[in-house]
């Protein structure tokens, strides 16, 4: 067996967490450095994977860096890891954000040891979801994530943190309970838990325990809560708003991507026929998510809540791209997940920094901050412009692909109408983002914020890293789309498109 890259990437953060938990000396400085090391190495390894990934067209649909061991014989479950063009970008994104949130959390001084333990466990579970190719393993990583997030929100959060935390847990468990029923049904229909085998087998050939469409929707329920799809989104604004900055960055940046990833990897790949049949319904939900999310974002006055609601709208684009079921639209959806992870991650980091340095996040009380904290203002604006899809940012590339792909998709009739409706979401995004920037950073300078500190060196470092990646993907999207295509083309092959 070759070098187990993925196992090491996934489990290094856990190893770090155990080390930190058992440390005799609980000096915060030591813990921070350890956390940074145990998240930086996975990032470095993920970048190595990217470099060694076979990007030739011949590799389309191939699972690379595969690891497979028999795990639970009576259940026919395997410890099966691997990445393809679809999951690799998300693995890199998660590893990147995992390292960034340690830097973002550098100034945390409440229960430091526990904080970093939960943060590291969270990273492991998200990485595990993106790398698992066995449904049971996938589900286990999917579920583990609930516990660290619960503690992160409820201990280090703000506002109604305990309410938001338990709401998050109940919503997630509700979705995953239905997903579990779906996984079990699928298992007994086919006798297999392997995502690879399932995607290659024809479900019609089996006698299903319940109608195949019902299995599809049971599974979709779990993913739809996470993505989130209106009307299952109400946990998101509460959780994102009340979570600590790092928690919001992980939630918006990596965690909700699990929903979109699951939809492509499980729902579309394994049930291409059902996905095609129900695409009009799901595309309708996508348009509703985009427009409803954007409309509600427009009337937010809380900086974090505004960004949170904008995620609902932006994830609507992902849903549209997925269930337009075209090669280009699916590629766009996958790219949008990465792009949104970077942009919204940066937006939340900046919102957290503003809050920390200024001590206020109510837009009606802010104003003119561009004079007092110019660096934060500039970076915030860049991230905002990425969010509204300005060319040269990754947001533009991704949304452009989604719209072009959806508009030209042949899988769903009348998709052009849905696409045009969804484009309105971009116009609204321009509205709420520019309005937010204007209210926070421009206009008359307010004296009470005169002493506010601007970003320090460490903060400038991570800001720069985010901006560099957003620009890189925006200017040269092929660096990712060339890989994503390899993962998407076998799926569109199944769809017959």
């Amino acid at each position: 067996m070759s070098f187990p890259y993925l196992t090491i990437i996934i489990f290094l953060p856990v190893a770090g967490a155990i080390l930190i938990a058992l440390l005799k000396n609980s000096h915060p400085r030591l813990i921070r450095y350890l956390a940074a090391i145990f998240t930086f190495v996975p990032l470095a390894l993920a970048v190595t994977l990217f470099c060694n990934f076979d990007k030739s067209l011949a590799a389309a649909g191939l699972i690379q860096f595969e690891e497979k061991l028999l795990w639970i014989a009576p259940l026919n479950a395997f410890y099966h890891l691997g990445v393809d063009g679809l999951s690799l970008p998300l693995v890199i994104l998660t590893a990147f954000l995992g390292f960034m949130v340690v830097l973002i959390s550098w100034k945390i001084d409440l229960r430091v040891r526990e904080y970093f333990v939960w943060l590291l466990l969270l990273e492991t579970s998200i990485l595990g979801v993106f790398c698992s190719l066995d449904l049971l393993l996938f589900f286990i990583f999917w579920e583990i994530e609930v516990i660290p997030m619960y503690f992160l929100i409820s201990i280090w959060g703000s506002g109604r943190k305990e309410y938001s935390a338990i709401k998050y847990v109940v919503y997630t468990l509700f979705g995953s309970a239905l997903m579990l029923a779906g996984i079990l049904s699928l298992y007994f229909t086919t006798g297999s838990l392997s995502m690879v085998e399932l995607a290659q087998s024809e479900l019609g050939a089996f006698t299903a325990v319940i109608p195949v469409a019902a299995i599809f929707f049971l599974l979709l329920a779990g993913f739809a809560v996470k993505l989130p799809v209106v009307p299952l989104h109400t946990w998101l604004p509460d959780a994102h708003t009340d979570a600590p900055t790092a928690g919001s960055v992980m939630l918006a940046g990596a965690l909700i991507k699990m929903g979109g990833y699951g939809m492509i990897r499980v729902c579309v790949s394994i049930f291409p026929q059902v996905a095609t049949n129900y695409a009009p319904l799901l595309v309708t939900l996508a348009v509703i998510s985009v427009l409803y999310g954007a409309a509600i974002t427009l009337r937010q006055t809380d900086l974090k809540r505004l960004i949170a609601y904008s995620s609902v709208s932006h994830m609507g684009f992902v849903l549209l791209g997925i269930f337009a079921l075209g090669q280009v639209s699916l590629t766009g959806a996958a790219l949008q997940m990465v792009s949104h992870g970077l942009i919204t991650g940066l937006l939340f980091a900046m919102a957290g920094l503003t809050m920390h340095n200024v001590g206020e996040r109510d837009l009606s009380k802010l104003g003119g901050l561009a004079r007092q904290i110019p660096i934060i203002a500039v970076i915030f604006s860049i991230a905002g412009l990425g969010g509204l899809g300005l060319p040269t940012t990754s947001g533009f590339a991704a949304e452009f692909l989604i719209f072009v792909g959806s508009f030209s998709s042949t899988a769903v009739s009348g998709i052009q109408v849905y696409t045009i409706l969804a484009v309105i979401g971009v116009v609204l995004a321009a509205g709420y983002i520019l309005w937010m920037l204007q209210r926070a950073f421009y206009g008359p300078v307010l004296e009470q914020y005169n002493g506010a500190k601007d970003a320090d060196t460490l903060e400038r470092v991570y800001m720069f890293a985010f901006v560099a990646l957003i620009m890189l993907v925006g200017i040269y999207p092929a660096i990712l789309t060339d890989i994503i295509k390899l993962g998407i083309s076998p799926i569109t092959g199944l769809l017959g498109g």
Partner: protein, 486 residues
């Protein structure tokens, strides 16, 4: 007569008697716990030595020595060992009767071992009473008003349940003329469809058996005793009741219903349906009733009613397809093992905490993460296992037992069960929340004795092992489940 097949039980009985006698001479009562533990380990050693042998019957077909019985015997011995480890501090406070306490725990475990092995109605009744009578005394051991009330309640309701059970057995005997399970099955299978389906005595007998056994496993609507008895009993005994007594009940239900009433199929479909309904009602009622509880022992009492509901999904699965299905039976066995470690772990942590606080109120657990970090972490892990969140054992157990349900057309029941798990998350996490987020009432540390730490570490290790590498125990459970025959 193969007396060597009965050695585990004989040795355990000998140790139980030895403990009572030595109590008269030994001044250091801690030694009694050690002797009891040795007795359990010896019995477990004999039991393990028998694993893998071909199934045999002893005492004129009254007891079976097969992997099914052996699996449960090991489970009961393990449970009793953890209970004794958890009892040492608790019992040391008693002025008198320490020897009796340990002896009764051993005798009760002996009764459970017999319950798992019996294949004959009269022997079932005797084994059940041996277990129950020991437990009646143990529940009232504290002799304070609450404990006495609990004991009396348990005794009265238990006696009624026994009477109902006997009545059911009498009816079954009246219809078939046999008391040995295999022979009952033969008679029923030989009867014509009309003769059985038109026979109200048989149906009534089976229903009464469900009621009688339902009391043991705390199935709704035979659960009324649970919260009061759990609250009043000494906490180690509550732990013993909640896992040992329940597991024994399930062992005997599996044996009786599968061996005697497994065929014809319409019969099993009917009792399967009874269990399906009891499961749905039990878990829903247990979980909803647990939500407002403020006493952690009462809360775990209701939670154990809910867990019995999840377990009955396995029984319903067995009933739905007795011929084809191993997964339902092995699912029950695996679930019992993982429920045992998680629930025992939770109770052991509670014992350690209440030793110091002298309170079982959830609000008094506030800030426990600062006062006793390892206790709080262990208790959180066990509660997470009871919710069924990976990587703890409870998740694998639920996955395993529910998979049998889905396979046999009980998806509706499985969906009710998984949604119930979501409800249960709310009250289990409430305890976790109080421990991690609450402000500690005082800075004083909560100490725990060596025995408790060992017991707690073993339980937590079990929770993690069964959750991460469950394959080995699953295989054992499957081998045991295959041993049951019509």
């Amino acid at each position: 007569m193969n007396l060597e097949l009965f050695i585990p039980e004989l040795s355990l009985a000998a140790f139980a008697i030895a403990v009572v006698l030595l109590d008269l001479f030994i001044q250091r009562k801690g030694l009694l716990a050690v002797i009891s533990l040795v007795g359990l380990v010896v019995a477990a050693g004999f039991t393990i030595a028998m694993w893998g042998g071909s199934p045999q019957a002893i005492f004129n077909n009254m007891l079976a020595v097969d992997s099914f019985a052996l699996f449960f015997k090991l489970l009961f011995l393990g449970i009793a060992a953890l209970v004794i480890l958890a009892s040492t501090d608790y019992v040391a406070k008693f002025a008198r009767f320490q020897g009796e306490y340990y002896a009764l725990v051993l005798l009760s475990a002996l009764g459970m071992m017999l319950m798992a092995a019996t294949t004959e109605l009269i022997a079932i009744y005797i084994a059940l009473e041996l277990t129950s009578i020991s437990l009646y005394i143990l529940v009232g051991f504290l002799k304070d008003p609450k404990s006495t009330e609990a004991s009396l309640k348990y005794l009265l309701l238990g006696a009624i349940a026994s009477a109902v059970l006997l009545y059911g057995m009498a009816l079954v005997f009246g219809v078939t003329g046999k008391t040995q399970l295999g022979e009952i099955a033969q008679v029923i299978q030989a009867m014509s469809l009309q003769a059985t389906s038109a026979n109200p005595a048989l149906i009534l007998g089976i229903v009464l058996l469900v009621a009688g056994f339902g009391f043991k496993i705390a199935a709704v609507p035979f659960h009324m005793w649970v919260p009061d008895v759990y609250e009043g009993a000494p906490t180690p005994i509550t732990a013993f009741l909640s896992v040992g007594s329940k597991a024994a009940g399930f062992a005997i239900i599996l044996r009786v219903f599968y061996s005697a009433f497994g065929l014809p199929e319409w019969l099993s479909l009917n009792w399967g349906l009874i269990f399906a309904v009891l499961a749905a009602v039990g878990m829903t009622l247990g979980n909803v009733a647990a939500l407002p509880q403020t006493n952690i022992k009462r809360m775990l009492g209701y939670s154990s009613i809910a867990q019995a509901g999840y377990l009955m999904v396995g029984l319903a699965t067995v009933g739905a397809s007795p011929t084809a299905d191993v997964l339902g039976r092995s699912g029950v066995l695996f679930f019992l093992a993982s429920y045992a470690v998680a629930n025992l772990g939770a109770f052991i942590a509670i014992i350690a905490i209440s030793n110091k606080l002298d309170s079982d109120l959830i609000q008094d657990y506030s800030g426990m993460i600062k006062r006793a970090p390892w206790l709080a972490i262990a208790l959180s892990l066990c509660l997470i296992s009871l919710i069924g969140i990976p990587p703890a054992a409870g998740f694998m157990a639920k996955f395993y037992i529910f998979s049998g349900g889905v396979q046999n057309g009980l998806l509706w029941l499985v969906i009710i069960a998984v949604l119930n798990s979501v409800i249960s998350a709310y009250y289990y996490l409430r305890v976790v929340k109080v421990m991690w987020l609450g402000e500690p009432a005082s800075e004083e540390k909560v100490p725990s004795s060596g025995a408790l730490r060992v017991a707690l570490s073993l339980s937590c290790l079990g929770v993690l092992l069964l959750g991460i590498i469950p394959g080995y125990i699953m295989k054992m459970a499957e081998a045991a489940a295959k041993m049951l025959t019509f």
